[in-house]
Symmetry: C2
Subunit: 155 residues, 2 copies
Amino acid sequence: MYNNERNGVYELKITSRFTVAVHTLLAIYTFQDKYKVTSDFIASSVNVNPVVIRRTLQNLKAAKLVDIKAGIGGATLAKNAADITLYDVYSVVDCINENLFNFHDNPNPDCPVGKNIHSVLDKHLTAAQTAMENELKNVTIEDLSNQLKIYTNND
Amino acid sequence: MYNNERNGVYELKITSRFTVAVHTLLAIYTFQDKYKVTSDFIASSVNVNPVVIRRTLQNLKAAKLVDIKAGIGGATLAKNAADITLYDVYSVVDCINENLFNFHDNPNPDCPVGKNIHSVLDKHLTAAQTAMENELKNVTIEDLSNQLKIYTNND
DNA sequence: TTAGTTGTAATCATATTAGTTACAACTAAA
DNA sequence: TTTAGTTGTAACTAATATGATTACAACTAA
């Protein structure tokens, strides 16, 4: 069933492209020294269609976060895992557009409130978005990998 | 035309229900002592269909942020403007579901990364969301009104 | 009684996401 | 130089949300 219901109302959010991309990078980092990490390999771990992974990898490649071997196949990190933050990933994979908050179009310029609503609200929305994004800058793929090792050692 | 395009990719975000609701409250606060603030009145300022405003007002009423006069019409604030934060509004209007970040479904439990991706990632996503939401708690409808007065006095 | 408004269901157009199919282009290895 | 496996990418689809809109019953003060 659909997992996004509450009181019969459905809502949008930051798309799973972001977590898919993070998962992709963590899988590459975890396995790149042992296996050829192909889109099929990653897709199997993430549990999405391989084409979704290839599209994700193209975004990550364009940002120089990964290298991809065309033909033979396989992806590797193009930077140190400690130098790739969640914000880097978030920025690249189109999980939101520039603005997190979707502002209603064309408020009435003949009403004092409509005329100025952007002026009074925009800076606060930007501050909220920036606070969220700054948190993402505090976490790297290496951080996730270290945490992952703790979990896998306990298996 | 569509206002959400970038490089042919389209993205989701926090819906305009939030800014519509903030605009609604600011319009009520600004005009409630002078006019009967009806859904048509607000809709004209926000520039959306009146039914969208009525639905918004129902959400705000359920949270005891506004009073609505059925029959005769008109909405007023049910609390002091200084006691209504942007977070209060955000919480009630279903602009997102509980989680801001949409996580991909069913990562592969037979892969060490897939099995633990939620464990390593969830707390960071929650921290980012909380940072955003906390910023919204710092701003009240009264703050917006005070800023609005500065702009309108300059007209 | 009436005029205006709210409350709410129902339907629609538009748009996005993720899934999927298909296949050309590429590359290393046999 | 053939082949097997993979990437790169276009095209299409199903599922679903949003906001617009229509419609109308219920309500209430004048």
